[in-house]
Amino acid sequence: MAVSAAAATGSQYLWFLSRGSGLVLLVLFSVVVVLGVATRTGSAPRRWPRFAVAELHRTLSLFAVALLALHVVTAILDPFVTIGWAATVLPFASPYRTLAIGLGTLAVDLGGAVVVTSLARQRLGQRAWRAVHWLAYLAWPAAFLHSLTAGNDLGIWWVALIEVASAAAVATAVLARLFDRGREGPPAPGPGPRRPPADDPRHAARPTARAA
């Protein structure tokens, strides 16, 4: 009797840890995405050095990886749900809430690729790194949908608030990224040269472009 009660409390801790770490992870991941966009577009507050924004983006994502390990392990060790170790890397391999957990696995796979390539960026080169890094824009929605469907806590008001705030922050960042008219990389092969954007504040005023 006492043993099973203890076992029950023990596994409850696992469940709390898993849900709690999941929520913190959502916040972390969202902040990482916002910081990533801020690094790219240079839209962080002017007083923040750009290298600090870049380093924070990096540090937080590595911390998130550590927390992710906790989140995944506690979820799998939890005796009340059968997820199975395969589901850590294989999406939709969990008998319990297959879709919900699968989305989480997808986020782990995509996010993992992003992190690994970023750590090896200097060896991989800019193009390869950049191509994989775009997967972050798929990883976050997967993680977000996982957070909505894999837990039961949306009824709690502050959980819902965190979900909404995270989505709002990332949506704003994505829009900022899409509309960023900052200087892009080398121009694609084409008939003409890349023009610096007319409204880049650092660019001196010049006559309007001549007719093509």
């Binding site: 092969p189 040269p193 890349r194 023009r195 001196a204 010049r206």
Partner: protein, 434 residues
């Protein structure tokens, strides 16, 4: 195949040209169309053949003794380039640069239009000298048909032991830059690439690549026939030979002429009929060249050594004469704007630097504003910080303008016009127009 009609037959044969008389590259008379293979051989004789190693080295040494330098603008010693490419680790390839992106210059087009076989001789010869199996001739669109025709003629006659391929050049100023040319041939993208590795080590498809201006190759074809001593019978000891120049602007007979290197600039203008009006300034070299006072430049020899006095060089062989009643600042501003627009757009200091400089010059030319310290700072910041020398050349041209047009600057800076008409003497074509 074109032949000259009897009234304009070339009476001078190889012996006459070899004797050092003029012209060497250009025909006696213009307007007869391109010289076909038969007439080419009648005038110059056949190209010597033989591809063994000793012959290659000996020929490169002869080119070195001749002192031939590149006629594309940079003036690099040709023998050194040949030796560097020949020493490469892979089978090299030769690219003949006939794109002539410089809008005011016409010498390469005229050379290809009149003597395509001389250029092709040079390209094939250069390929033999470096051990390449292919020579790619990239020609300006205006002369593609002539060059294609000449190459086809040679194929029918089974003349060459290397494959000759003819391509059209990109319609871009920067398309003639060596790495941009390689990029164009390889990928259809006329944009310069970052410098290491250098083209003579790893260029087209990673092979050692020889990029040579078509005029240089034409001279090469003649050196192979008649040797270094003959080549040196014209020109100066430091800069031997002849060169093609394009004379434009306020002269009576603008066009392309062949001159002995070291000919005084005033005489070069004379060959083009002399000034058609009192001259205000000369632009020597090309759009990367140097503005000069005609009184100062007139007696100077058209050579690198001679033009040092005005901080210039023969460059791409352009001599543009600006009449005294045209505003030199306005012309400079127009050319600067053109060069800024023709930037490949890959490097910030070039795109933004030349853009800012062009804007500042436009403001100066219209009397709106002038901030000399800021302009000088921008010029210093644009120089030497691009992947190619486009910004450097533009800044050099602007710097010479600021030195030569001092009086005009003073008046414009005070808001006065210099009283001259801002006509467009120098061509600054819009993209897509010839």
């Amino acid at each position: 195949m074109n032949t000259l009609d009897s009234g304009q037959r070339l009476v001078r044969g190889a012996a006459d040209v070899q004797a050092g008389r003029f012209p060497r590259l250009l025909p006696e008379r213009f307007g007869a169309g391109p010289a076909g293979l038969e007439d080419h051989v009648a005038r110059y004789g056949r190209l010597p053949r033989g591809w063994d190693g000793y012959w290659r080295e000996e020929l490169i040494a002869e080119v070195g003794r001749a002192g031939l330098t590149g006629r594309g603008g940079a003036g690099f010693p040709t023998a050194r380039k040949l030796a560097a490419v020949a020493a490469g680790r892979d089978v090299p390839v030769v690219i003949a640069n006939g794109t002539e992106g410089e809008p005011a210059s016409a010498k390469d087009k005229v050379l290809l239009a009149c003597a395509p076989h001389l250029v092709l001789d040079g390209a094939v010869l250069a390929a033999g000298m470096v051990g390449a199996r292919q020579a790619i001739v990239v020609a300006h669109d205006a002369v593609r048909e002539v060059v294609h025709g000449a190459a086809a003629e040679r194929r029918r006659a089974r003349l060459d032991q290397v494959k000759v391929k003819v391509m059209t050049g990109a319609d871009r100023f920067v398309g003639g830059e060596a790495s941009a040319l390689v990029n164009w041939v390889a990928h259809g993208v006329p944009l310069p690439t970052a410098s290491p590795p250098r083209i003579f080590e790893s260029g087209l498809h990673g092979r050692p690549t020889l990029v040579q201006n078509v005029e240089t190759l034409a001279h090469l074809a003649l050196i192979a026939r008649w040797g270094a001593r003959w080549f040196r019978s014209l020109g100066t000891p430091a800069e031997p030979g002849s060169m093609l120049v394009t004379v434009v602007g306020a002269v009576r007979q603008p066009g392309v002429r062949e001159v002995e290197i070291g000919t005084p600039v005033g005489d070069v203008l004379g060959l083009a009929g002399g000034p058609a009006a009192p001259l205000g300034a000369l632009l020597i070299g090309g759009y990367f060249g140097t503005w000069a006072d005609p009184a100062v430049a007139g007696p100077l020899p058209l050579s690198a050594e001679g033009l040092l006095a005005i901080g210039g060089s023969p460059g791409a062989g352009l001599v543009a004469a600006l009449p005294a009643d045209v505003c030199g600042l306005a012309e400079t501003a127009r050319v600067a704007r053109y060069l800024a627009d023709e930037s490949a757009g890959q490097c910030g200091p070039c795109v933004f630097g030349l853009g800012s400089i062009a804007g500042a010059l436009a403001d100066l030319a219209t009397g709106r504003s002038y901030e000399p310290a800021r302009l000088r700072r921008w010029m210093a910041q644009a120089e030497g910080r691009g992947a190619c020398h486009h910004p450097d050349g533009a800044v050099r041209m602007v710097r010479s303008a600021l030195a030569v047009f001092g009086e005009e600057i003073d008046r414009h800076a005070q808001g006065w016009c210099c009283g001259r008409r801002p006509a467009g003497v120098l061509p600054v074509p819009l993209r897509g127009t010839p």
